[in-house]
Symmetry: C2
Subunit: 82 residues, 2 copies
Amino acid sequence: MLKAEINITLKRTVADPQGITIKHALESLGYKDLANVRIGKLVVIKLNFKDKKRAEQEINEMCKKLLANPIIEDYHFEIKEE
Amino acid sequence: MLKAEINITLKRTVADPQGITIKHALESLGYKDLANVRIGKLVVIKLNFKDKKRAEQEINEMCKKLLANPIIEDYHFEIKEE
């Protein structure tokens, strides 16, 4: 069985109000040395097969078709055996 | 400068309706070999200092105090130099 961990983040140029809010909240808790906070999504998919090459190709397609919005988001993923 | 990548996921025993919905959507696109889909949050924090030990301690505190809900969520993080 393979496990894909997909990280989907807003592109650098896209504003991230949720990240700014969390940065302010952390600062009000006393953490003053923060340069930047950005929020993203994590999608963990377990696959019922063991062909890593097929997994890479299919996960890439899934990101492009459904999981990420390529206009405002970047994604990267890692595939591990389980 | 240090960069912390924090992955926050629902505990195994907690239902994840968003993950189930995405699994169904992927299946309807033709990806039939999925065992499981789980959704989590990704928080990327850039820190204005270089002391890795301090970073680990502070990120751990931030997760416990604000970022994760320890009753239903697990978290793990990696700290890298930038």
